[in-house]
Subunit: 340 residues, 2 copies
Amino acid sequence: MNRKAARATISDVAKTAKTGKTSVSRYLNGEQHVLSTDLRLRIKTAIEALNYRPSQMARSLKRGRTKLIGLIIADITNPYSVDVMCGIEAACRARGFTLLICNTNNKVDQEQYYLNLLSSYQVEGIVVNAVGMHEEVLNHLQQTLLPMVLIDRKIPDFNCDVVGLNNSEAAQLATGHLLDQGYRSLLFVTEPLGLVNTRNERLNAFNTVMKRHPAYHAEQAEVTLNDPATLDKILTDFYQRHRTERCALLVVNGALTLQVARSMKRLGLIWGEQMGLLGFDELEWAELAGVGITTLKQPTWQIGYSALEQVIRRIDGDNTPAKEQVYSGELIVRGSTRKE
Amino acid sequence: MNRKAARATISDVAKTAKTGKTSVSRYLNGEQHVLSTDLRLRIKTAIEALNYRPSQMARSLKRGRTKLIGLIIADITNPYSVDVMCGIEAACRARGFTLLICNTNNKVDQEQYYLNLLSSYQVEGIVVNAVGMHEEVLNHLQQTLLPMVLIDRKIPDFNCDVVGLNNSEAAQLATGHLLDQGYRSLLFVTEPLGLVNTRNERLNAFNTVMKRHPAYHAEQAEVTLNDPATLDKILTDFYQRHRTERCALLVVNGALTLQVARSMKRLGLIWGEQMGLLGFDELEWAELAGVGITTLKQPTWQIGYSALEQVIRRIDGDNTPAKEQVYSGELIVRGSTRKE
DNA sequence: TTGTAAGCGTTATCAA
DNA sequence: TTGATAACGCTTACAA
């Protein structure tokens, strides 16, 4: 049976229900009240009999609204990005939008490819998860004319909605915790600062707190994600100079925390013993790594959800000035920053 | 400037280039050789001037081919799923298809929602990443009439292409390794076997190897992912009974390995010391957890890539009987299974 | 309450 | 080598 199963169209339904397609269309679009009970029933049965499902393609074409939203992600491998995505997705379902997920692997050409793709499918808006994105790739997005909201990070000199963490507050919380635990020499480890506002804001808040305690020692170091040798050097050096005091590391994000942990393992530095360790972003394995690693957890799901709501607001015509929404982080204390 | 920026259409291009839309369409669809050099140039300039991009919606409607493929994932939070997805995505880009990613969170209703969605967008095929999927959710997919390929796992009594790991080979490799390392009492820890072929195949291969060594002890235990209490009990019990020999755990997948590691941590059982530990699926934190955890790594990316190629083959009309493609896993030895 | 017809942006058919 | 024109499946005036 069911040889080729050509999809039923609205005309088929109309024919089967012995009516015109207008009525079927009305039935589908919530104007059922204008239909007579009899007709309504005939249409209902016809639809079920034919297993009819309206074509979004045709619908979008006609209406000029696709109900499609594009999501650009630099690195879907990052668990943070995945969590954010889940929030976005939930919001989409709630609002009747469909998400086109584009993983660019941090490559400009792949980003360009997907931007074209999204444009050709006429998405109504774009959410950009900028986590881990190279500056070059990020800047490239300015060309977009569509409603767009950024997650986590801003594009310098580009006025655009942003949703993310309250970086200052979170960094204060983290730094304060380290001091509370008796650490006296702190090293802020970050990926290259560049113009990345999140990194800079976190660092600034760190420095602000430390300036209130002139007796304690604060330092910072920049390192790229895939440069283990340099990282090893930085950590060894810091530890050599400060092993006599209680010293600790504050790491700017989860991806880097992974690298730092690997480096410490290589060097035989045990977190929670020789050095304290606290990283931004929660890690599913945080409790399994030695005595556990203290993290600053972001409300990722919530951030994603809000971001989507914001694009929709823009799509719906909201013209108020670009705004920034920030959420508070939560400190999850584990063995790596326990009092001795 | 740029007030409303209504998208340019093919007619706009035709008008600007002083020609008909047929020619523009020809230009776009690789029939440039039939066009005169002059006309070709005019069209080219017009397209660039208007920043024209053909509407996929209209194209799909007309052609009846959407070049869309749906991906159904039960749990995008699982790193395995993400890696597979990357392979699929790369294949899509290579073959000019666009991926509609649907995360069902293992809920039948969400799956139904997405199945309808995919159908209404007229995807040409579906890839199902069955990793971590509940049987109920999985079975539900049989209704699909579209070309479909499964990743990792089969649907019982449903004839469908599958791409995944060579489970027997991998389980033999893993079991053999444990024996080589001098472990003499092995516990195979799995999620409920049910009719899940992957779990059963892995277990069977494990048993086959163990039967060749009647002097050694083999055991198995089923536990659900979120039942820490039971897991604790299973592990304690096993350890109590076998602490005098060298004993080890073989865990059926990565998600469960995470739980097992947590449980051992709670119980104060140190992997690589009191007990050996080997888990299917590579974990990014494997080397950071204590002495490191030995894993059996799957060629995830490759699996995803192949799966997509297989759907495309089906879409292109391949009618050969459903086939199963398996790939070999790779053992990554770490501290948790080192010789004492 | 119902139906006819035009049109959304493409491509395919056919004629010039 | 070109270009009208008719679909594709749907929504929406407008008419009845």
